[in-house]
Every structure is written in C-alpha cells, then in structure tokens.
C-alpha cells in the first residue's frame, strides 16, 4: 500500500465497471504457471523504518565534507550554490517527462535551450545538444559521429584521456569494428585513414598540452577533431572551438552536480554547425506559437531513434535533463566570470599545495615540466597506497594512487584542489605528509 491511492471500495467499483470478479481475473492472459513466483523479498517498511535503513547505509560511508579531500580525477567537489538544489528539487522540473508536448513543457524546453546556449559559449562551438549520460559516453558518441561522418574506422586518441573515457570509447567501438590507438603524439599520428583525433583538456593528470596542432593535423587529413574538456577549464583557457576543434565533449559534473559516487552526472556535446545533423540526442529549438510568441520545441527529430529506428544517429532516448538543469542554474548563477574565478582559485591553491609538498624531502612533481591547472601527479617517498592509507587514518584523502591506473606510477598520487579545499586543509596535508615517514598515531 506504500504509494497507492485507491481503497477497497474504489477497487470494487472499478472491477464492476470492467466486468471482472477479481483483480486476478485481469491477469488471465499470463500463463498460470508463470504467475505468482516465489520470491525472497523483505517485509514492507514504514516510511520511518525506511529512513532508518537508508540512514544506516549512508552512515557507513565517509562523506567528502567530513574529510580533507584532495580527490578529483574526473569528479570534483565544487561549491554548489543553494539555488541549484532548490531548482532541481521543484516537482515542476523533477517529475516532468521529456518535453514531447511543447505547450505544456515550456519550462523544461527553455532551460534546455539555455543549457545549449551556455555550453556553446563555454566551448566556443556552434551547436550543443540537450545532454548525454556522462563525459565518457559523450566522448564515445562523438567518436561514433566521426566514424559515421568520415566512413573511416580508426581512432587516434591521446594517452592522457581519462582512463574511463578511453575504456568506454573502446567498448562502443568494439561492436562496430572500430580500432582505437593511443599515442603521446596525436598530431604526428593521425592520418588519412583515421576517423578522428581525440585529446583531453586538461589531461587526466591535470596537465595542459598544446592541442591546437591536433585540430589542425586532423583537418589536414579529413579527420574530425574531438576535445574532451573540463567545463571549468573552458572558463579559463582558450576553449576547444577557438583552438579549432570540431567537437567538444565533457562531463558537466563540476557545474553544480554533487559527486554522488559517480552518477548521475551529465555529458555535454558541442559541435561545429556542419555536424549539427549528425548529433546524437535531443535538441531544443526556438520557434513561435500561433500567436507569434517566442516558444521552444524539440527539433531535428529525424536524427532520433523514435523516428529513424535503426537508421538513427544514436540509440539515446532518456538523457540527463535534470542534471543538465543543475548545470544550467549553476552557470546562470556563476556567470562566465564566476566560472573563471573558481578556476583561478583552484589553480592558485593547487600550485600552493604543490609548492608546500615538494618542499618536503622525497616529494616531487611527477611531471615537473608540464603546466597543470588544479591537479598534479605527486611522487611520494615509497608506495603511494601506503602513503594514502596513512593519511586516510588522519581524515585526509590524499588523492588517487595512480598505481591503480598504471602500475608504473605506483609511487604517484593524483592530487586535486578546488575552491572547496580550504587553505587550512592544505596546511594539514603538508603537515601530515611531513610526518608520513614516521610512525603515525593510530586512530579510527
């Protein structure tokens, strides 16, 4: 009875109108031997008990807000203005469906149009879609677009793409016979047989490489250039469109979406005008109503699965509209200037932390010659997992031990700062690191 409105009387009246003696009679089209399987399910819970059970599980996790966290690696703890949460908590937004009936869905449609517009401004490209699942699948969709556009099936990807992004591109590609090669020298590798060149801004280890030549090299051989970009970085750096890229994709999680153990986040994609009709997913367009007023509607649906079926540009249907709304409200509240400010604070803090840590004996930057934004690979004395475990006991999440991604880097940590990593926590990190060679006080 958890969420059911009709009482016994109403159900009886309804059965009468149907002309059935019982609810069971409504299921006679299901073969009897399939009906009422034996299932091992727990007793129903009252709301209060339900809250108790979920709070018990939540209490078995250690939220980042209770720790000094320097973990990033694709998922960032950034400050979320309260109005973002207030907006996505409104039932008018969170309980609505995909806006098929435009006249009763102008709220969702207009916010998507705003999302598309701001993503275009952020990436420096012409057209953005309504959202995709996450940064990794957005990159895979971009690669599939390039394969369809060029009729070629080899992908040249930078070795410093996020490992999860690279893995997802490979899974998407495998079904379609697409080969993925990785290299440190994308512009020197991409050739006339390649569908696309894919690079990251910044790279997985936080560094910024000179990627404009990749876009140029790809154009020269008729391949599509794809940039996997951090949206906050786009507020500070010359954006992918201005660098000459055909497609920018990325994860919008830093734009007002909590880490949430990895999802739901939101994928974004922006492209040059020429690629508009190859895009996957929903697009909202500006139009007018019968009375000439500005109005919005889903458009160019001839690309999509519900119209084109097996000939669609993608299979995506449900996307990530509500997390895209969070990103929309975040961008609108922060403005382009606010996003740049947050990026600057993050850069300053990361460099201050790096300076503090590398002043200690045995600590150094793993890539000292490469400029980085707010993440850096730190070489620690000894094993990085051991170091991280020691700091974790003191409530410090020291970063991602990179041996998990690449065994060669077992002495390295990927360390991240944002505007939520306080100056005091930076000091605690340096202090704890300075003592890490010595026996540590054991605490829970």
């Amino acid at each position: 009875m958890a969420y059911l409105p009709n009482g016994a009387d109403e159900r009886r009246q309804m059965l009468e109108v149907i002309g059935a003696a019982s609810v069971e009679e409504l299921f006679t089209s299901v073969p009897e031997r399939l009906r009422h399987p034996v299932m091992d399910l727990p007793e129903p819970l009252a709301e209060q008990d339900l809250v108790g059970e979920l709070e018990r599980l939540a209490a078995r996790n250690r939220p980042l807000g209770t720790l000094d966290s320097f973990l990033g690696a694709g998922v960032y703890r950034r400050y979320i203005p309260a109005i973002v949460r207030a907006a996505i908590a409104r039932p008018e937004f969170y309980t609505a469906y995909t806006p098929y009936q435009a006249e009763a869905s102008q709220g969702t449609l207009q916010t998507i149009f705003e999302f598309q517009s701001m993503i275009c401004e952020l990436t420096g490209l012409d057209v953005a879609n309504a959202s995709l699942y996450d940064g990794a699948t957005a990159a895979a969709e971009a690669v599939m677009m390039a394969v369809a556009q060029t009729g070629r099936n080899r992908v040249v990807a930078a070795g410093d793409l996020h490992p999860e992004t690279l893995a997802v591109i490979r899974t998407y590609g495998r079904g379609r016979g697409v080969e993925v090669v990785t290299t440190e020298d994308v512009s020197g590798t991409v050739g006339a047989g390649d569908a696309c060149a894919v690079v990251a801004l910044p790279g997985f280890l936080g560094t910024v490489a000179e990627i404009a030549p990749v876009a140029e090299a790809a154009r020269t051989v008729g391949a599509i250039s794809i940039c996997c970009a951090d949206p906050i970085a786009c507020g500070l750096l010359t954006p992918p469109g201005d660098l000459g890229f055909d497609i920018a994709v990325g994860d919008g999680q830093p734009l007002g979406i909590p880490p949430s153990f990895g999802g739901p986040h939101v994928g974004f994609m922006a492209v040059r005008q020429e690629l508009m009709r190859r895009m996957p997913g929903r697009l909202v367009g500006l139009t007018h109503d019968r009375d000439g007023r500005r109005a919005y509607a889903l458009t160019l649906q001839a690309r999509e699965q519900h119209i084109r079926r097996e000939k669609a540009t993608s299979n995506i249907c449900t996307n990530h509209a509500l997390t895209a709304l969070a990103a929309t409200v975040y961008m609108a509240r922060m403005g382009g200037a606010g996003i740049r400010r947050v990026a600057e604070i993050s850069v300053q803090r990361a460099h201050a932390l790096a300076a503090g840590l590398t002043a200690l004996d045995g600590f150094e930057l793993a890539q000292p010659d490469r400029p980085y934004l707010w993440e850096f690979a730190l070489r620690v004395p000894g094993d990085a997992e051991t170091f991280a475990t020691a700091l974790r006991r003191q409530g410090i999440v020291a970063g991602l031990p990179l041996g998990r991604v690449d065994p060669v880097r077992h002495q390295q940590l990927l360390v991240c700062c944002t505007e939520t990593t306080s100056p005091a926590s930076l000091d605690r990190y340096v202090e704890a690191a300075s003592r890490s060679g010595h026996p540590l006080p054991v605490s829970a």
Binding site: A128, D134, T287
Partner: protein, 503 residues
C-alpha cells in the same frame, strides 16, 4: 480587492499574468557580464597566472553569459516551473513511459551527504554503505526478474539495451559462434531497440505482428537461423498485450541457438507477479525511472540495469559489486567482460531512490502491478464508448486507442492530445506504436486515484463532444496553456538552437 490583476481571458485586452507572456532567457535577465559573484578568498600566496601556466593560452574574456542575481534567477525559475505540467499537478498518462508518482522521501534520501557527497575513487573502506546498497539492490532486482546477476551500470533503458546486446554478442563469440549478426525485432517495438542493435553493429530484421497485436510466431520461425543473435521482445508489448506465445518463442529461439532479450519498459504490468526469467528471457533490462519510480527529471537521468542468466554473467560490464564475508568490493578483474559501458558504477543517486522504493513495498510489490493493470483496464472501460481500441485483445497496464473510426470524421490524435492540455491533463503518447494509425496510448499507472481516472475519461468525452460541434476549435488547441500551439515545422526548417547576442 482593488488593483488585483485578473487572469487574462481570450480576446480581452489588459495586462497579462506574468507567466503568460514571453519569459526572457538568462542572457536577457541583467547581471553584468564579466562580474563574478563574491567568491571565497584564495587564502594562499598567489602568483600571476602567466607564471603558473607558462605557454598556456588563456581565454581573452570569460564566457559571455552573465551572473544572474539570485532574486532574479529565482523568479525566472519560478516562472519557468509554472510552464511545466508535472506529477504534483495532474495525471501524466504517457503510454510506455510509466509516469508514476515519485515518493518525496526518496528524493530526501538520495540527498543524504552519505550518498551524495561520496567519491567513486574513495577507498572501498570509506564507501561500504554505498556498495552494500548496490549489492542488495542487485539481489532484489534479481528476485523480481528471475535473473542470475544484474549490472546496475547502464544510465538509461537504451543504454541497457545496447549493453545487453553487447553481452549477447560476447556470449556467441566466446562459443566460437561468430556469424550471428542479426536481431529480430517486432514492428511494434520501441525505436530504441533497432537503434541499439545498429549501435552494437547488428543488423535488424523486422518481425510482423498478428492482428491481435502479438508477435507472429510463424514469422519469427521463418527468420530464425544460424545468423540470428537474439530476438528482442517487450512483454507486455507496446499495445499493452501479454505475448501469449512467449514460451514457444523462447523454445524455438533457444533451439536455434539465439538468445531472448526482454525490454523492461513495460515491467510495471508484471512486477512481483511474473518474471521475465521464468518466461525464458536470457537478458533483461529494467527502467528504474519507470517501474521503480525514480523521477523522469524532464528527460532523465534514468537508470537501466541489465540482468542476465548464469550463462552470461562472465560478460557483465566492469566493474561488478561483490561481497567477501561482510566486506563489499568492486571487481574489475573479469577477463571476459564486455568492458566499461560508462564512467564509474552507474547512476548511483537513482539506485538509492529505487532501492528505497523497493524496500517500501518489499514482499507486497505485486500490488504495484495489480493496481497498474486495474487502473488501466478501468480507464479503458471508461473510454470504450469514446474512442475505438486498436486491438480487441485484453490489455494490461496500458492500452492503445485510436481516433480513426471514432464518431467524428477527421478527428486526429494530435488534436485530442493538444486539447487535453487545456484541461490540465498531459496527453497520452500519440502516434505510437506506428503500427496503429492515429494512436493514443494511455498508461495511467497505479498511483492515479479513481477520481483522477474519472476526470480523464470525462475530459475525453467532453473533447469528442466538442469535436462534433466545432472541430476547428480543437484543431487550434491548446488555448489555455502558457503558449498556444507551437510551430514545430518552423523549429525544424530554420533551426535556432542557441541564443546569440544581437549584433
């Protein structure tokens, strides 16, 4: 009271209520370009960016959208919110979409810091509660579907379909059965089925439906050969009709070496009452945002877990959640896996909501299906005299009506759909399935009261009566919504997909 602004009525001059006019875009709301909201102090010794980022090209100017002042932004969002139909306002009878009420408590629970503020790369020892929840949810969904294992990773139904098909391909390949490149898909299937097959690199063969709306077994048999990797089915199908021959189809599919795929979009008709696993399905995807009540969010995020029989567990995407004694962990070491299908472990926030929803019902979860079917059959009974039905077979949680052959010649599904909006009722799914002309597909779900169903039936009757009198008024509907009928042709012909500053 003097000075109160009356709602505008048709044709009368006078000030319009604020929500009825055009709503400015965020770019037009004011706020100075280039000015950031107050931020925290940096708090560390700073150096010029040029020194910290040598050789890195910085943007000449910040992105060109303003920081909208909070009071202005709050009203903007408030006004936009009023322009959305939603489940706290009225019925949303979209067929195949299962727009059931989303429990408010689930929203609160997903926002607990212990769920929302945890990082996918935290040490497993710091996220045991999250892993336990995922492990338990997998068990509950296995019980409900009759599958051996379930991956919680796919982000949506279509993503689950593609993931399932990739596993089917891996299964055949691992057996050295490398020529199975086709998928049989009924003509009434959701568009995502053939689109997912194409994305997986499979060729689609369309199977005919019988006049009663079910899959034509003879047509399946005709196409079943050693090239067929899988048959995709929705059960009950998109007409809301239980596939009476499903056991026979499973038998001949398996005899021919093909696997059977279950599109779980319509599981709400059967949840707790019958299981796809018992019907012979090998791979099953679920839509947590349909059957298990996670909100649709205006088009996602959803969640599309995919379940498999024992024979396919080796191919599940990376990673899986495992239990070792009382400890939960992520297993990335699965050599036969199809690989990663997305980043991290799934739309965890949606998993929290679905887990809470299932625990609220627990062993009484069959009440969902019972009431979903009762509501749909009741609504259908009420509508029988108003619209012809697409098929005569008994439907379950949804049904398809048509305006073709109704009392009013020339009555179109589109016009009924648009006029419904004037009554504060969202339109049913129109023009789907494509096998039915002028289709109106109703799915009320179990969370609608009898009163709400009666209102919908009464409104439909009023609309048809109105159409008999004045079809033109219907054709120009809606009249009472924040905007009148939207010109979708203009939107497609001259695509304007972003705001641009006026030069």
């Amino acid at each position: 009271m003097n000075g109160a602004i009356e709602p505008r009525t048709q044709g009368e001059p006078g000030p319009a209520p604020e929500w009825a006019g055009e709503e400015p875009l965020v770019f037009e709301l004011g706020g100075d370009l280039g000015v950031a909201p107050r931020e925290v102090e940096v708090g560390v010794t700073t150096r010029p960016l040029a020194a910290l980022l040598p050789g890195v090209a910085l943007r000449a100017a910040p992105p060109a959208f303003p920081a909208v002042p909070e009071p202005v932004l709050a009203r903007h969002l408030g006004r936009l919110a009023r322009r959305n139909h939603n489940l706290h306002q009225g019925i949303y009878p979209l067929g195949s979409c299962t727009m059931k009420y989303n429990p408010v408590v689930d929203e609160e629970l997903a926002r607990l810091a212990g769920f929302a503020d945890i990082h996918p790369y935290q040490d497993p020892g710091d996220v045991q509660g999250a892993l336990e929840l995922m492990w338990e949810l997998e068990r509950l969904l296995c019980e409900i579907t009759g599958m051996a294992r379930i991956s919680l990773q796919p982000a949506a139904g279509a993503h689950g379909e593609w993931t399932g098909l990739r596993m089917i391909q891996a299964y055949h390949a691992a057996r050295g059965d490398t020529h199975r490149s086709r998928v049989l898909i009924p003509d009434s299937a959701h568009g995502t089925n053939p689109a997912s097959a194409t994305l997986a690199g499979l060729e689609v063969v369309t199977i005919r439906s019988n006049p009663d709306g079910t899959v034509d077994v003879a047509d399946v048999a005709r196409h079943l050969d050693s090239r067929v990797a899988a048959i995709m089915m929705t059960n009950p199908n998109t007409l809301g009709v239980f596939e009476k021959d499903v056991l026979e189809i499973a038998r001949i599919a398996h005899a021919a070496g093909a696997l059977l795929y279950y599109d779980g979009a319509n599981l709400n008709a059967l949840v707790g009452l019958a299981r796809p696993g018992d019907m012979g399905f090998d791979v099953v995807h679920l839509n947590l945002h349909k059957t298990f009540s996670t909100p649709h969010g205006g088009g996602g995020p959803g969640s599309g877990p995919v379940g498999v029989t024992e024979a396919l567990t080796a191919f599940l995407p990376l990673p899986t959640v495992e239990r070792d004694g009382s400890r939960y962990l992520l297993d990335h070491d699965r050599p036969l896996s199809i690989g990663k299908v997305r980043s991290y472990y799934g739309n965890f926030g949606m998993l929290v909501r679905a887990y809470a929803y299932i625990r609220a019902y627990g062993s009484s979860i069959s009440e969902v299906a019972e009431n979903a079917v009762l509501n749909a059959r009741y609504l259908q009974s009420r509508l029988r005299g108003i619209f012809p039905m697409a098929v005569t077979s008994e439907s379950m949680h949804e049904f398809v009506a048509t305006t073709k052959g109704s009392r009013v010649a020339g009555l179109r599904a589109l016009d009924v759909a648009k006029r419904l909006l004037d009554y504060g009722v969202y339109a049913p799914t129109a023009y789907f399935p494509t096998t039915v002309p002028e289709a109106l597909m109703f799915e009320p779900t179990e969370t609608e009261s009898k009163r709400s169903l009666d209102l919908l039936a009464d409104v439909c009757a009023a609309i048809v009566a109105e159409a008999e009198r004045d079809l033109d008024h219907l054709r120009s509907a809606p009249h009472e919504t924040p905007v009148s009928r939207v010109d979708e042709v203009e939107a497609a012909r001259r695509p304007v997909l972003r705001w641009r500053p006026v030069e």
